[in-house]
Symmetry: C2
Subunit: 326 residues, 2 copies
């Protein structure tokens, strides 16, 4: 086989606090093979970096067997990163990671194809833009509603990085300046209203105040056992308290989106993450808010849509950025 006949692949890595996913992805965004392990973040960063390295070796071997050339590797990671230097500065989901030179650490362990580091929400956004719910839009934003709220912005078909590569922190757009305390320590960030953590907080607080809700049947006496998934599920079944909490989260999501529209005039927002799984229950209040608050006269119906790639968006997007940057 000629070298020129070899179709390249890229390896996308999705490094989360719980799971570590790796995908071998071709130039059209197809995952040829995916691997999944636990991150074991609690056992320390050395352990996690070793696990990433082992999985990368495995992925490179598989690519080899598939007779594909690995063009590059991109690791999507949560938290604040220095992407130019490949450093994870701090990460809420990786508690002992402080200024970890992940790129160098992996390269130290083994000689790999070129490695990029990217914010995980940027990878999600890029994946959805490339072959997901944002396909065909040259400007869009991606928002992940999970433990926290992540974001990414695509402008003119590229992830917008900003001066230092830290752009896209949609979770920290201020939606209520004197509002709830955010995990980041500031007040009234979108994340303090629309993250899974925020939804659980609201629900638990209401239950402790004695509010009526079918959530009580789910957790019995243990009010601290409420999860965002439960709130979403009970909302779907019509539980008033759960519906109100999801609606409030959606309303604040819409306020942040309206501000972004007024600032950037972009017409597509792809919402992913666990909490977005509740679909229109959270997205419809967001849409209503956007219609009320966005000044652009050309607001279209399909401005806010659910992500379509599920858990694969991160690895697909990471790999896609290897191809775009290569």
């Amino acid at each position: 086989m000629n070298k020129t006949d070899i179709q390249p692949v890229a390896i996308g890595v999705d490094l989360g606090g719980t799971n570590l996913r790796i995908g071998i992805v071709d130039q059209r965004g197809n995952i040829l093979k995916s691997l999944k392990r636990q991150s074991q973040a609690k056992e320390g960063k050395e352990n996690v970096i070793n696990r990433i390295t082992d999985l990368l070796i495995e992925a490179c071997n598989i690519s080899n067997e598939l007779q594909r050339e690995v063009k590059g590797i991109c690791v999507g990671a949560p938290g604040f990163l220095n992407i130019k230097k490949g450093i994870i500065s701090a990460s809420p989901n990786l508690p002992d990671w402080k200024d970890v030179a992940l790129k160098k650490e992996i390269e130290k362990r083994k000689n790999f194809p070129p490695i990029l580091l990217q914010n995980d929400a940027n990878c999600f956004t890029f994946g959805e833009w490339w072959i997901g719910a944002g396909n065909g839009y040259k400007n869009l934003a991606g928002i992940t509603l999970g433990t926290g709220v992540g974001g990414g912005v695509i402008l003119d078909n590229r992830i917008w990085l900003g001066d230092d590569g830290t752009a896209g922190e949609i979770g920290h757009i201020i939606v209520e300046p004197s509002g709830l305390k955010c995990e980041c320590g500031r007040n009234g960030c979108l994340e303090s209203y629309a993250s899974g953590t925020a939804i659980v907080k609201q629900a638990t607080l209401a239950l402790k105040k004695g509010e009526m809700s079918t959530l009580k049947n789910r957790v019995k006496e243990n009010l601290n056992a409420v999860t965002a998934k439960m709130v979403s599920e009970e909302a779907t079944k019509g539980d008033r308290l759960s519906l109100d909490i999801m609606k409030e989260a959606g309303r604040y999501l819409g306020i942040a989106i309206a501000s972004i529209i007024n600032l950037l005039n972009i017409g597509r927002f792809v919402i992913g993450g666990r909490v977005a799984g509740s679909g229109d229950i959270i997205l419809e209040p967001a849409r209503e808010e956007v219609l009320k608050r966005a000044i652009n006269p050309h607001i279209k119906d399909q401005v806010i849509v659910q992500a379509s790639l599920g858990d694969d968006a991160g690895i697909i997007g990471a790999a896609g950025m290897v191809f775009q940057n290569g």
Copy 2:
């Protein structure tokens, strides 16, 4: 003289509700000649368009006398525009202008070099980026605090226009979702806190409630005669009420800027317009708010600065965009 020896100029137009300014600008941003007339907006749009045309003819003649070739014309106009089509859709400062095809109307009257239409706040921002307080920054935002609050965003050394050319409406970033009614009809936009109109409203309301202030000495019994300039001046002299009002405006300005930083990771904000003339009285509270609310770890001292080109920013920026687009 050879054609190749001719140094080109561009004509920048700043169309306001009160004044109409035109400048002949060279490639370095020097104004070779400027002209100023009243817009006479109250006498109807036909009259205004004729006045613009006459001034453009005069400017072209002067350019000719200066032996300069006019590369193009850019009209900076307030309000919501369709810049692709050269249409002013609606404008708060030009009351009877509704879907006015300004570019075509001027072209109908006389054969001119190519004409662009641009938002006036975008022209301001471009001017300040080109040779003003934003020079040297490839990413920045410009904010004008005048009757309303305008804005423009420069990304990668170009004005960011968005899907439809309506990007940059920083005045309608939501800073207090259940807050004051904005002139746009929505609630809690930055404009409803930081515009000259908002400052006057707050001051008048407080005086009517009987609050103590040296503003009373300025307007005597006629409480409706308060201007934003008076509030700014009395604040400078230490008047408590005026200081509080300017501080509140600055605080909300800072909240909007922090949201922009968190979203776009840009490190320079140039503030212009009449209200910004009060300098640190409004900018310092904005800076304090940004330090509290921006998550970027690299926030530098000179993030928020006063504009430096005064009333010329608009015509310089308009002309600059002719050169950049040509």
